[in-house]
Amino acid sequence: MTKIIGKNELESWLSGIMKERTVFAPTRVDDLILFRPVRSANEIVFDYENTNLSPKELFFPRTETLFTAVPKDGDIELTPTIVDQEVILFGIRPCDARGIAILDGPFLDEPADSLWAQHREKTTMIGLSCTKPAPQCFCTSMGSAPNDASNVDIMLTQVEDGYAVETITEKGEKLLQGVELRESDVQPPVPTCDVNIPAEGIVEAITKMFDDPYWSRLADRCIHCNVCAYVCPTCYCFDIRDRTDKGKTERIRTWESCQSKGFTRIAGGYDPRADKGTRLRQRFCHKLLYFPQQFGALGCVGCGRCVIACPVNIDIREIISDVQKIGAEVGQGSN
């Protein structure tokens, strides 16, 4: 039996939650769809492919204070940042939810990152499965699916007269307390994303063609901006510096991307990844080689944001098939 919640009940339920807790949901901002805190249910957009920027920002903000250092009677008082705001993230797509779950690897690996851990703990995720995957989506090839509910607390799937509700975790259960759901025998549709990207054996293939000139040829057209890393739900590289404002010093962590010029430049000016080809290779090797080697899953969830956002159409799906082709040729060749 499928539990159903009507559109109006859903909106009134969300409006109720909004009274005590902050609800982030996809809203239209100019011509963008972004996750923003919403004050009323009608600000929420329900029919959208995906947001321009990924919800990773709610867990790994573009700018975050790690701790403050304030001089106090001869000493410096360090106060680590505490996340005390309970947040509801509504409308997260299955691929993005998988992205967040994947990033638990690097962030919660010993010694765990306390800020990421607090954000994860304080955030309840209500997923919205995709009814019609977009042309840029390839989630099924990356281990996710348009209705993959494994990484959210509650999963909603659109049906004729409302949304099928699947409660996954007790956090979800707690949130749904007091909400009566109708029983129905209608089966939620099972959308498919039939784009098939040959990701099988990519780790071996990319290892074989690691030194192939393919990367420098590809880097010809790359302009080395940080768009792909900043729209991506699974890019997590960061930079740390201090900022002082009126006597209070904050140690700030911000997004950083392996395509930035000074990303690996060390004191004295030496930069092991000075040329373009190696920097571009680093991005795809991190996702398709280093990440799976260390955490098991591929570092890409197939959301397709970088495919749309890249100014010069460096398409990770095309790269995966190129790498497989070249990896195979190199396989038969020398080694």
Binding site: L34, L53, T63, P135, Q136, D239, W255, A309
Partner: protein
């Protein structure tokens, strides 16, 4: 008409590569969505079939020449792009003898986007008065006569807003900015080795990706392009959060036109307005 542009470009590219006049032809090829164009680097004459030209060829390819210093290279430029060649030549960044310029009379470029089969012209084509390339070695297409001068209607519209409204408008845009620097990386006029925004000593713009820092970044970036921007509007196209950067650039373009009657990139040996002066000019400041 545009179809045979492609053939003319392919033939010229083949000839240049076979004769060894150039080592590489920088042009456009069809992207991974089978529809919109993307930059292409052709090194072998056998590969010229990849080259295409249609109204999705939005990229300004001139900046790639900065990576090809000392190597003879051919580049395909539309009308507006060609002004970037004059900009970089007048600023001694590229060597004229190393470049073979294939100019294309521009048919107008549609909204660029992956799998975005739009047929709506980009806004830069509405204000465009430079369909014919200003500099070329080989011309594709027949030169057209340009329309009446640009009236900067978009800027006038913005100026009807009050100062508070404008301040709020740019503050909100600054909230969207993620400082990915795609605008800088796509701009032919932005080629500093160590950009002010990444300098640590002095730290002009703080590390935070926050509205105040973003405002400072966008203000100074626009100022550094004053009298140099050739309005190819690639900065606005590549912005992942659609910040209307053309408003800032064109506000400066109108001011430079008004004060110094100067348009960037119109000739190889032009002198940019901010590196020269006229002793007795009245600019309505300081009196």
């Amino acid at each position: 008409m545009v179809a045979d542009f492609t053939q003319q470009i392919r033939d010229k590219a083949k000839e240049l590569l076979e004769k060894g006049t150039v080592e590489c032809v920088i042009g456009y090829e069809t992207g991974s969505d089978g529809f919109s164009a993307r930059p292409a680097f052709i090194y072998e004459s056998a590969e010229v079939e990849r080259l295409i030209f249609d109204n999705t060829c939005s990229h300004n390819l001139v900046k790639y020449l900065l990576n090809k210093k000392g190597k003879p290279t051919a580049v395909i430029v539309k009308g507006c792009d060609s002004r970037a060649l004059n900009l970089l030549l007048s600023e001694k960044q590229i060597d004229r003898d190393n470049i073979f310029i294939i100019g294309v009379v521009c048919p107008g470029v549609v909204e660029w986007g992956w799998n975005n089969h739009s047929d709506q012209l980009q806004i830069r084509c509405n204000w465009c008065r430079q369909h014919n390339p200003v500099i070329y070695d080989f011309l594709v297409g027949e030169p057209v006569t340009e329309g009446p001068p640009d009236d900067f209607a978009d800027i006038a519209a913005m100026e009807t807003k009050s100062t508070e409204e404008r301040e709020a408008f740019w503050r909100e845009q600054a909230e969207h900015c993620v400082r990915c620097y795609a605008c800088r990386q796509a701009c032919p006029g932005c080629y500093c080795i160590d950009c002010f925004v990444e300098q640590l000593d002095p730290e002009w713009v703080g590390i935070r990706i926050a509205p105040e820092e973003n405002l400072m970044w966008n203000t100074i970036r626009a100022f550094h392009l004053a009298g140099r921007c050739i309005s190819c509007n690639e900065c606005e196209r590549v912005c992942p959060v659609n910040i209307p950067l053309s408003l800032l650039n064109r506000r400066m373009e109108r001011e430079v036109l008004g004060l110094f009657d100067y348009r960037a990139g119109m000739s190889e040996d032009a002198v940019a307005p901010l590196i020269t002066f006229m002793k007795d000019e009245k600019l309505g400041i300081g009196e």
